[in-house]
C-alpha cells in the first residue's frame, strides 16, 4: 500500500486516541461511522497492531433481554478487572431515517464505570443485524486497548447473521416466548450459535425450550437417537449398538458442542456459568486453531467489504458513469435498451 498520510485533523485525533482519551475514541468512531473523508486511512493507522481483544457477540430476537444480559455480563467482567467496550445496535427507521437508541437504558448500572465504554449505533439501512461500520467500530475499540468487546445486535429474526463477522464467540439469547425450537432450527441462528442462552429462565416454558434446543442441537450433530429409547419398547440404541461402537463418536474430540444455558439477567442467575462457558469456548478456539480460522474468515469478509464499498464509490462518483447511467435510462424509456445493455456499457467504461 502507498504510505498512508493522515490529514492534520486526523493526525491530532489519532494522537488523542493513542493517549487513551475517551473523547478521541468517541470522535474516531463518529469519523468511521459517518465514513468521513480519510476514515479508511485512520482505520489503517489504528489497526496496525492486529486484533487483541476478545470479541463476544450477543444476538437474538427483540425483547430477549440482550441489553440486560450484556450489562450483567459486563458487570462480572469488571470484577475480573477487564476493560470493556460495548457496541449496541438498534434499528434505523426506513421511513424517517431516524432511530431511537435505547440500549443504554438497561446499562445504567455500568454506565459510569470508567472501565467501560458504551456506544450505540443505528443500522442506517444495513440488514445483517449490525450497522455497516459496526465491525470497524469493534476494531477501533480493540485498538483502543479494551480487553474485551461486547457486541449487541438489533433484535433479529432468522437471517441477520452478520454478528459472526464481528465476534469470536456468538451467544444467541432466546426467551421462553421466542417460540419452540423449530423456530431456531429453521436456519441461521442455530448455525451461528456458539452458546445458547435461554434468558428470563424463571418464566414458564423455559425448561421445555432448553430440552428442545438440546435435542435440535443433537439432531444437527447426528446423535439424537443415541440415548433415547424408542417409544414402542425396542431400544434402537441397543439394536444398532454393535455397529456404533466402531464408529467415531459423533462429537469429535476437538469439536465444540454447543451448550444450552439458562440465565436471568435481572437476578444474575446463571451469569457466572455463562462467563465460564465463554471462557471455555475461548480456550477451545485457541486450542483447535479455530480462532485463527475465524480471524482469517473475518479478514476475507473485511477485504471484500472494503473493495465493494470502494468500487461502488468509484463507480458512482465518476461523472462519465453518471452520464452513461442517464443515457441508459433514456434508452430504456425509448425502447432502445434494457438494464442489462446499459449496465454492460457502464461496466465496459469502468474496466477501461
Amino acid at each position: 500500500m502507498t504510505p498512508v498520510t493522515l490529514s492534520s485533523e486526523h493526525e491530532a485525533l489519532f494522537e488523542r486516541f493513542s493517549d487513551g482519551k475517551v473523547l478521541g475514541l468517541a470522535r474516531a468512531i463518529s469519523v468511521v461511522e459517518n465514513e468521513r473523508p480519510g476514515f479508511q486511512e485512520l482505520l489503517h493507522t489504528v489497526m496496525a497492531s492486529g486484533p487483541q481483544a476478545r470479541r463476544v457477540g450477543f444476538t437474538g430476537p427483540p425483547g430477549a433481554g440482550k441489553s440486560s444480559l450484556v450489562a450483567a455480563v459486563a458487570t462480572e467482567y469488571r470484577k475480573l478487572d477487564e476493560h470493556l467496550g460495548v457496541v449496541a445496535v438498534d434499528p434505523t427507521s426506513p421511513y424517517s431515517g431516524g432511530a431511537l437508541l435505547g440500549d443504554r437504558i438497561r446499562m445504567n448500572d455500568i454506565s459510569m464505570d470508567p472501565g467501560i465504554f458504551i456506544r450505540s449505533m443505528a443500522t442506517r439501512g444495513s440488514l445483517g443485524g449490525l450497522a455497516a461500520t459496526t465491525k470497524e467500530v469493534v476494531d477501533l475499540m480493540d485498538a483502543f486497548g479494551f480487553d474485551r468487546v461486547l457486541v449487541e445486535t438489533v433484535g433479529v429474526g432468522q437471517t441477520e447473521l452478520e454478528v459472526t463477522a464481528a465476534a469470536d464467540t456468538v451467544v444467541v439469547v432466546l426467551v421462553p416466548e421466542s417460540g419452540d425450537a423449530i423456530q431456531a432450527m429453521k436456519a441461521g441462528l442455530m448455525e451461528i450459535a456458539d452458546v445458547f442462552v435461554v434468558n428470563k429462565a424463571d418464566r414458564p416454558g423455559a425448561p421445555r425450550l432448553v430440552k428442545e434446543l438440546r435435542q435440535a442441537l443433537h439432531l444437527r450433530s447426528g446423535s439424537a437417537l443415541r440415548d433415547i429409547p424408542a417409544h414402542h419398547g425396542v431400544d434402537l440404541g441397543q439394536v444398532v449398538k454393535k455397529e456404533r461402537t466402531t464408529e467415531a463418536p459423533a462429537e469429535a474430540p476437538e469439536g465444540w458442542s454447543v451448550p444450552v444455558l439458562t440465565t436471568n439477567a435481572l437476578t444474575n442467575d446463571g451469569v457466572d456459568t455463562l462467563l465460564e462457558t465463554i471462557q471455555e469456548h475461548r480456550i477451545w478456539l485457541d486450542e483447535a486453531g479455530e480462532l485463527e480460522r475465524r480471524r482469517r474468515a473475518r479478514a476475507e469478509i473485511r477485504i471484500r467489504d472494503v473493495v465493494d464499498r470502494e468500487m461502488r464509490r468509484i463507480a458512482w462518483k465518476s461523472s462519465d458513469v453518471r452520464a452513461l447511467l442517464a443515457r441508459g435510462v433514456d434508452d430504456i424509456a425509448n425502447g432502445d435498451g434494457t438494464p442489462y445493455s446499459a449496465a454492460e456499457v457502464i461496466l465496459e467504461a469502468l474496466m477501461r
Binding site: V22, L23, A26, R27, I29, S30, N34, T92, S93, S96, G97, G98, A99, L100, L101, G102, R104, I105, N108, S111, M112, F117, I118, R119, S120, A122, R124, G125
Partner: protein, 137 residues
C-alpha cells in the same frame, strides 16, 4: 439512505422526578425527524448525562426538567460538558421553566429552552437550524 450526516441527540431525564412523558414524546419526534436519538431513561445524574454524551459523541444534549431544579441541573451539565472537552455540543431542553430563568440560563451558555405547549416541530426546527449554522463548511 441519504448521504447527509445524521444529527445525534441525547435525550436525558435528570433528577428524581419520574415524569418522562415529555422526554419520550420529544425522543419519538426527533426520531421521526430523522435524528439518531440516544435515550438513557430516568434518574440520570449530570455526570451520567455528560458521560453518555461524550461516549456517544452526540451533537445535542436535550434535557427534560420538570422538578424545578433547572437552575442547578442545566449549569451543572453545561460546566461538566465544557470540562470534558465537549463544549461544541448544544445543550438545550424543556420543562416548567420561568421566563426569567430561561433568559439567565441562555446567558450562561445554555441553548433555547422550551416550555409547556411547545410544538415538537419548533424543537426540531431549532435543532436543524443550529446544526446547519454550526456545521456549515
Amino acid at each position: 439512505m441519504s448521504d447527509e450526516r445524521k444529527i445525534r441527540v441525547l435525550v436525558a431525564k435528570p433528577g428524581l422526578d419520574g415524569h418522562d412523558r415529555g422526554a419520550k414524546i420529544i425522543a419519538s419526534a426527533f426520531r421521526d425527524a430523522g435524528f439518531e436519538v440516544v435515550y438513557t431513561g430516568l434518574h440520570q445524574t449530570p455526570e451520567m448525562i455528560v458521560n453518555a454524551a461524550v461516549q456517544e459523541d452526540v451533537d445535542v444534549v436535550a434535557m427534560s426538567v420538570l422538578s424545578g431544579a433547572h437552575m442547578t441541573l442545566f449549569p451543572r451539565v453545561k460546566s461538566l460538558l465544557d470540562e470534558a472537552g465537549a463544549d461544541h455540543m448544544l445543550l438545550t431542553g424543556g420543562g416548567i421553566i420561568p421566563e426569567d430563568d430561561v433568559v439567565e440560563l441562555e446567558q450562561r451558555g445554555v441553548g433555547r429552552l422550551f416550555g409547556p405547549g411547545t410544538s415538537t416541530l419548533d424543537a426540531i426546527a431549532y435543532v436543524n437550524e443550529w446544526f446547519a449554522t454550526t456545521h456549515a463548511n
